[in-house]
Amino acid sequence: MKKFDYSEKKDTRSGFGAGLYELGKTNENVVALCADLIGSLKMNDFVKDFPERFYQSGIAEANMIGTAAGLTIGGKIPFAGTFANFATGRVYDQIRQSVAYSGKNVKICASHAGLTLGEDGATHQILEDIGLMKMLPGMVVINPCDYNQTKAATLAIAEYEGPVYLRFGRPSVPNFTPVDQKFEIGKALLLDEGTDVSIFATGHLVWKAIEAAQALEEKGISCEIINIHTIKPLDEEAVLKSVSKTKAVVTAEEHMMNGGLGDSIAQLLSRKLPTPIEMVAVNDTFGESGKPAELLTKYGIDTKDIISSVETVLKRK
């Protein structure tokens, strides 16, 4: 299989911060809001250099979402940042009515998503956010895999007119995608071709999928790895093309099985191309405190879980 390498590990939230800062320099309509988490969201540079376009919103997320919706009236492009839990579950109705139903050009920027938030525990480890956001009509849902891709996604969503949910995280993960890549919303990325199984992964689990594919290659199993950075709209064509070749599917995500990427792909395949599928995702439980790596292991969304899921699905072929 193709060789994947990286020079350093970086957090995806810093990719967001870098992208936002660049937008500050290049797009005067971009404004930012944050609910008392500037440092955590890596928004410091934007705040420092573009204070007139930054609105500290305090610990009041509902108002932040509404204010962001209002800022679009007059042509601003608001990027509203906070932790994923407070950016979705806490403000669902505000997003539903003032942003999604109203068709507002708001970018909801959500950090510390999933288990890899770590020690803060389940109150902050939202695993339902992708499901919540993808159910809203017209909402674009993006979950990039590394620093470079998160930066590229941040730049790309400023060019897109409409509500977007951009999900990223806290831990440092391998930064392996190209610097200055072009990010195409809704376009799945074929990372490596294979013949036995298609692994569709999103976010932090993309690198885990690569690790799994490397281990499986040694066992003589050829994996096709596809990075689904945009969960909605799903690149149905790319999914169907790969699955019609491999005839077996594993999905991998740092999210609840209900409502996640696997759920979207299963829904597509059950309608258009019924295929054996295994899902690496959190199964109907809350997280807990711990180190990110420990949590991925305990909750069954680590490299070894992708490997065992591939072995299971191949038996069902």
């Binding site: 007139e52 009041a60 108002n63 509404g66 204010t67 009236i73 007059g74």
Partner: protein
């Protein structure tokens, strides 16, 4: 000078529209709509600097209005149609299938005059704060107006927005509260008392004014006073005393007509009390 008599005539027609629209579908919210008719009439026919013939979502160089208590949709639709945003004939589609006049206001169907959906309460002040900041960034000197129910102030988001507006010195914003003292389950004081509203808003850093929302001259005076206080670093709240159901005697003095439509006989009684001044739709 405002032509108060003329505004009152327009208000009478809008009240007729409201009861006819709600009666036609046996559905809607006449009580609060009738109570706030004088305010909305004054706003759309006297106060707002707006272009009803060329509606544009961004509303640059225009004053903006947000109806945060979206259940007063019949009132708003009538005022929008009567001030030229769309044909008054369309009022007959209120709350029917495929209509742009949804039960609660929405941008989704493209009805001119509406810039955000409302209905789920407590969100309009936040949206107005954003729109007001957008105007400041665009160096426009226009104003942003909102209307809220008093019961709506029980939503926590209102007070988040109240803090935010003061923190960011949003002084191009005039929020009006319809103080009719009623909500679905009964008098506001019995359901969840708001205490001293003036003191609450003042302690949040707002300039607070009061007016009689059912006295057209006082409404025009009150809003103009508010306008004169904009640009001084503080947001402005107007506590507007109204009577729910104003203009239709049997709908007044109770919360019972919040979300109930009149029957045929009640409609006739109501229409007999409201002069047809601009022609029914």
């Amino acid at each position: 000078m405002a032509d108060i008599q003329n505004l009152e005539k327009t208000a009478s027609q809008i009240r007729r529209d409201i009861v006819r629209m709600v009666h036609a579908q046996n559905s809607g919210h006449p009580g609060g709509s009738l109570g706030c008719t004088d305010f909305i009439t004054a706003l759309y026919f006297e106060i707002l600097n707006h272009d009803s013939k060329n509606f544009d979502m961004n509303g640059k160089n225009q004053d903006l209005f947000f109806l945060s208590n979206g259940h007063l949709s019949a009132l708003w639709y009538s005022a929008l149609a009567r001030s030229g945003y769309f044909d008054v004939k369309e009022l007959s589609t209120f709350r029917t299938l495929n209509s742009r006049l949804q039960g609660h206001p929405t941008t989704k169907e493209g009805l001119p005059g509406i810039r955000v959906a409302s209905g789920s309460l407590g969100q309009g002040l936040s949206v107005a704060c954003g729109a007001a900041l957008s105007k400041k960034l665009n160096k426009e000197d226009n104003l942003v107006f909102t209307l809220h129910g008093d019961g709506e102030l029980q939503e926590g988001q209102i007070w988040e927005a109240a803090l935010f507006a003061t923190q960011h010195k949003i002084d191009n914003l005039i929020a009006t509260v319809d103080c009719n003292g009623q909500q679905i389950d009964g008098p506001v004081d019995k359901v969840m008392t708001l205490g001293n509203l003036r003191a609450k808003w003042e302690s949040f850093g707002w300039i607070v004014l009061e007016m009689n929302g059912n006295d057209m001259a006082d409404v025009v005076r009150g809003i103009n006073e508010a306008k004169s206080l904009t640009g001084k670093g503080k947001p402005i709240a107007i506590l507007m005393k109204t009577e729910m159901g104003m203009g239709v005697d049997f709908m007044m003095g109770s919360h019972k007509w919040h979300g109930v439509a009149p029957n045929d006989e009640q409609l006739q009684t109501a229409l007999n009390q409201l002069e047809e001044t601009l022609g029914d739709y």
